[in-house]
């Protein structure tokens, strides 16, 4: 009890984050009781929380070796181990505790949870079985069943195992003395199992029971499953009747109900093929019924709800698709009716768009109809109608009429319309969006389309001006902001893009879905080499979300088991999906790589950096990635068949995806591997914590070396020509130097001995679990038996790369390319020089050169470095020259001159345009100048 009193303050200190004082208290008590495991565990926890990993690790292993058995120590240890990323050890620890005390229910549960946290469902299932045997509690049946179902869900589980697992789950459920349907909380799980097994009749029995019926009528969650079951089992009549009942009696306007009626209507012709006459006759009858129903709803609802009328349009479309009617006049008249009734709803265009893929005859009738209704601007609803008119009209512009001139003319027309409509929102508060906003967006989209069609950068200037003007009037219009970010990146004004991005107030999970806006290929604009760490910090900040994710979601998974609710059965897989998608987010690893690319421009390239990044990038290389980036948030008002506005405004016309990521991972992993002494044996020994879950693709099983060397077309397709040249450069360079790296790299035993020595210097004790063999030569360099590889001449393409890049650069300058194009080539050339340093670092010490007779190799490296330095200096000088031009009055004047189209009406005046011009050219000047300086700095360090 005395100890308890003394330990209390340690817990308090830990709870409040005062790790230092917790350590001090622990040390005091440990002096009196040097063998107290709980104190050691608490100290280890405080240490790991203060980032003192090595010391924590030592204590942690000491406690683990004693096989702790008391609650307090186990609980503290589970936090320590999790902090160290050693989740498998948490499982082991509780497993042993439970084995030693099989009547301790808490230890059983903790073992189950520890497995659940790491998705080890097979082991979790075994624990649940044991617990059910031991404690005879019904709920362990459910733990067991959920674990089995999740194991079946796991992509790593082979197909033929899945059915077996589902059967296992089912038979276990049947052993429960209380049938599922009397317990609402268990009904959902039961139905899920039956669905997987295709036991639809059994499922129906559960649904027919009163509890079941009440539940699907009151809960969207259960109703979702019910609908799926009925659809899967072909209960179309039932599905249709229920939906009709809900639509007519309950006035339910959930579109799902309308879809059910529609799908049921055509079920007789979609479910069998070939379709016989009887089925067609049946379908025809149903069409008539559905039409009656939707007509009734449409009449009843009038302008109150769109569902009825839209369902009629959809019915018409599907009837035509299945050849029940040839005539398009009905569809056309419904669409016209829709225009009259809902043309002033903001979503009119989105609603009608799927029906605009009409044959040319119908299309021309539709266009004639639209042209007969003249847009007007007298009221807000009419303004919205006008906006819809423009959007809809634009969507069907034929391809032949999409030229730079015509699109620019249209953009001017939209701008005019925008300025005409603008006064309607004059009295709205600043927090409100302006009703005319979308016309400004339309104008910007058309300017962009004109640029794509070859209209020159002037079109982008106009787009920027019209959006800046729009944002001035409608401060919260994030659609305008999103597009401006894209445009400013295209124009080479990254600081303005970043400014707008920050005003979006992206936070939490949005970092994963939206940071691509400014971080995709951010190294192009990075000034890190000059000490400006804006982009690297942006990378780190946007990555915080991934840390908090792994901590938080697994807690929720454990919680879901402790609160047994029917919905948890749906929630747990949902949660796992969220965790998986965030943990293995493509954007996460893209940002990581981009960060490495910037980091090496301002930090010294040494063994610490090399080893750390190598291990991390290798983890990323083994992952299966999910692309969570939100592209759909962008509005798109381009004519059909054209690329979307987002695609048209992508920097270098391409969005780095997983192909790009893997190409760059291969470049960097290969180079870092050459430079590092940490080979696979060493890594296995030194790694703290579990390895991240690997992708289950068979490719992962191939040797790393093979995977690194393998080039895939889908990866190359995502590289720009300059990136491809860089990739080729890296490959040839690596092939040339690899034999020498492999020969000189010290053996694993020597590397480990060195690591152990360093740990000893830091913590007072050598590394544990490492056997330092006695036969190490004292000079640290193990003699190798094989002959040193002969030094070959440097392949011509290595130095040639720098010449090629310079030629490319000059060509772009002469062609008047936009700044990002120049920066892209320059940044990659600079990157090549740094990569060269990474690849040749090992050959730097004079002793190495002497021992391994590398004189000739070092000499050719020097020549290459000189070549690189010359090229980079020339690029830097050229960039400086251009940046000076950007800062002049003439440049601003020219910008304003090019923006005549948006100034046509006089409302957007000269001063406003000049201000935008100033900001754009200033931003350009800054980035060009900064990159030029950075290049000189990098050159002086690396060449």
């Amino acid at each position: 009890a005395a100890l308890e009193r003394q330990i209390r303050p340690i817990y308090d200190a830990l709870d409040t984050g005062s790790n230092k004082s917790a350590i001090v208290s622990c040390n005091k008590l440990l002096k009196k009781q040097p063998n107290n495991d709980l104190l050691k565990a608490l100290k280890a926890l405080a240490l790991v929380r203060s980032q003192k990993v090595e010391e924590s690790l030592m204590l942690c292993d000491e406690v683990l070796a004693h096989r702790p058995m008391d609650d307090a120590t186990l609980s503290a240890m589970s936090h320590v181990l999790r902090g160290l990323g050693r989740h498998t050890d948490v499982v082991k620890m509780f497993e042993e505790a439970f084995k030693a005390q099989p009547f301790n229910e808490e230890y059983g549960a903790q073992t189950f949870f520890a497995n659940a946290r790491i998705g080890n469902w097979k082991a979790a299932q075994l624990v649940a079985t044991k617990m059910h045997k031991q404690f005879q509690e019904d709920r362990y049946i459910y733990w067991y069943v959920i674990a089995v179902m999740l194991q079946a869900n796991d992509p790593a589980t082979p197909e033929n195992m899945k059915g077996l697992l589902h059967k296992l789950a089912h038979s276990k459920l049947m052993t429960s003395p209380t049938p599922a349907y009397v317990m609402p909380d268990r009904l959902y799980l039961h139905l899920t199992v039956l669905r997987e097994l295709g036991m639809f009749d059994d499922a129906q029995k559960v649904l027919d029971h009163e509890t079941g019926r009440n539940m699907y009528n009151a809960s969207l969650v259960v109703d979702e499953l019910r609908r799926e079951l009925w659809r899967l089992s072909g209960r179309w009549t039932q599905e249709r009747e229920l939906a009709e009942h809900r639509i007519t009696e309950k006035k339910d306007r959930n579109w799902l109900e309308f879809l059910s009626v529609l799908d049921a209507t055509f079920s007789s012709v979609t479910s069998s093929s070939p379709v016989d006459e009887d089925s067609r006759a049946e379908c025809l009858e149903r069409i008539t019924q559905a039409r009656e129903l939707f007509n009734r709803v449409a009449e009843e609802d009038g302008v109150k709800d769109r569902s009825g009328l839209l369902a009629l349009i959809e019915l018409e479309k599907r009837s035509r698709h299945h050849d029940f009617c040839q005539d398009s006049s009905e569809l056309l008249s419904l669409m016209q009716k829709y225009w009259h009734q809902f043309g002033e709803k903001m979503c009119f265009f989105e609603d009608i768009q799927p029906y605009l893929d009409l044959d040319s005859d119908t299309l021309s009738k539709w266009t004639t109809f639209l042209d007969s209704v003249q847009p007007s601007y007298d009221t807000e609803p009419n303004l919205r109608r006008t906006i819809n008119w423009y959007k809809t009209r634009r969507y069907t512009i034929p391809e032949a009429q999409i030229t730079a001139e015509l699109e620019s003319e249209r953009a001017s027309e939209y701008t005019k319309a925008y300025l005409t409509g603008l006064p309607l929102g004059k009295s709205l508060p600043e927090t409100e969006l302006q009703p005319a906003d979308d016309l400004a967006l339309l104008a910007a989209h058309a300017f962009i389309s004109s640029w794509t069609a070859g209209g020159g950068e002037a079109q982008l200037y106009n787009a920027a001006v019209v959006l800046e003007y729009g944002l001035g009037r409608s401060k919260q219009s994030y659609h305008m902001r999103l597009l401006l970010i894209q445009i400013y990146r295209l124009l080479g004004a990254p600081s303005l893009a970043l400014e707008h991005y920050r005003l979006l107030h992206v936070k939490q999970v949005q970092n994963d879905t939206l940071s691509h806006l400014v971080l995709a290929r951010a190294s192009t604009f990075s000034l890190a080499a000059t000490g400006d760490l804006t982009y690297p910090s942006e990378c780190l900040e946007s990555s915080h979300i991934y840390m908090s994710n792994s901590h938080e979601t697994s807690d929720f998974i454990v919680r879901a088991f402790t609160q047994e609710k029917y919905s948890q059965v749906r929630f747990i897989p949902d949660l796992i999906a969220l965790e998986e998608r965030l943990d293995n987010s493509l954007q996460r690893d893209l940002v990581k790589l981009e960060h490495v690319r910037m980091r090496i421009t301002h930090e010294p390239v040494n063994s610490e950096l090399i080893d750390m990044e190598l291990i991390e990038l290798k983890f990323n290389f083994d992952r299966y990635h999910y692309d969570n980036r939100d592209i759909k948030v962008f509005s798109n008002y381009q004519p059909r068949g054209q690329k979307s506005t987002f695609e048209q405004t992508l920097l270098f016309k391409n969005l780095p995806g997983s192909g790009w990521l893997f190409a760059f991972l291969k470049i960097y992993i290969r180079a870092l591997q050459h430079a590092s002494d940490v080979d696979e044996t060493v890594e296995a020994k030194l790694l703290i914590g579990d390895r991240p879950k690997q992708s289950h693709e068979p490719e992962i099983q191939r040797p790393l070396k093979e995977r690194l060397a393998h080039r895939k077309q889908e990866e190359l397709d995502q590289l720009t020509p300059s990136e491809l040249a860089f990739y080729d450069f890296a490959t040839v360079l690596g092939e040339w130097l690899e034999p020498h790296h492999d020969h000189i790299r010290p053996p694993p035993s020597a590397v480990l001995a060195e690591a152990s020595k360093q740990t000893e210097a830091k913590t007072g004790r050598p590394l544990q679990g490492i056997d330092i063999s006695a036969d190490l030569p004292t000079n640290g360099h193990a003699k190798k038996d094989e002959e040193a590889p002969p030094v070959k001449d440097a392949p011509a393409s290595i130095a040639g790369f720098f010449d090629d890049m310079l030629a490319r650069f000059k060509q772009l300058v002469e062609g008047g390319a936009l700044p990002p194009e120049l920066l892209h080539v320059a940044a990659l050339t600079q990157e090549a020089l740094i990569l060269f340093t990474i690849e040749t670092l090992r050959f730097k010490p004079a002793s190495i050169v002497k021992i391994h007779k590398l004189g000739a190799l070092v000499a050719s490296c020097k020549t290459i470095r000189t070549k690189a330095a010359d090229v980079l200096k020339e690029m830097s000088a050229e960039l400086t020259k251009i940046s000076e031009k950007e800062g002049t009055q003439e440049r601003r004047k020219a910008f304003v001159e090019l923006c005549k189209p948006v100034q046509a009406t006089g409302q957007i005046d000269h001063d406003f345009v000049l201000d935008v011009a100033k900001r754009v050219t200033d931003s350009r000047k800054k980035v060009l100048e900064g990159v030029a300086k950075g290049i000189l700095k990098v050159t002086s360090v690396h060449a």
Binding site: A218, S219, L220, V221, E224, R253, N254, W255, L256, F258, L259, K304, D305, R306, S307, L310, A311, K345, M346, C347, E350, D351, P429, E430, T431, L433, Q476, Y478, L504, K507, Q508, V509, Q510, D512, T513, L514, I545, S548, N549, E552, T553, D555, F556, R559, A560, Q563, K565, S567, Q568, R570, F571, D574, L575, A577, L578, R581, N628, D630, K632, V633
Partner: protein, 183 residues
Amino acid sequence: MSVLRPFRATDLFKFNNINLDIWTETYGISFYLNYLSRWPDLCCVQEAPSGRLMGYVLGKAEGSGLEWHGHVTALSVAPEYRRLSLGRKMMGLLEFVSDEVYKGFFVDLYVRCANKVAIKMYEGLGYSVYRRVREYYGSLGLGPGGRDEEDAFDMRKPLSRDPQRRSVRANGRDIVVSANEVS
């Protein structure tokens, strides 16, 4: 037309068009997971047939005794989908579930006193002001709104378990409490 369906954890990847709006706050992941795990039937989204999210509602059930009720924590509709009665529909669902499943006495919600449009909508749905909560919201820094900017109205609507309408009162606007007096 919109699909009304349960809010899924993975919807966090696609709610930007709703959450980039200034009136909508983006919370940490655990905030959403807490709601989804505890009151899944009080959390739903409206989705366009294209798969684009249109709006969502997050609610919970809380209180003890006669105060047991459904609470609307967040109700938000993307700007491009306003004026379609989506808010009304989601409120309808939340009231239905609070009544049928949770057997609550009333549903309540907080709204900025300055947000006249929303207040009018809620009144139209049968809600009335129960009390005014001082400094419930952080300031948006908008200036002239003053008190109305930071104060909230706690608005309530009685459910079928409260036929006597004991959970509401006529003079609610005059009853002022401080933010730490409410949960």
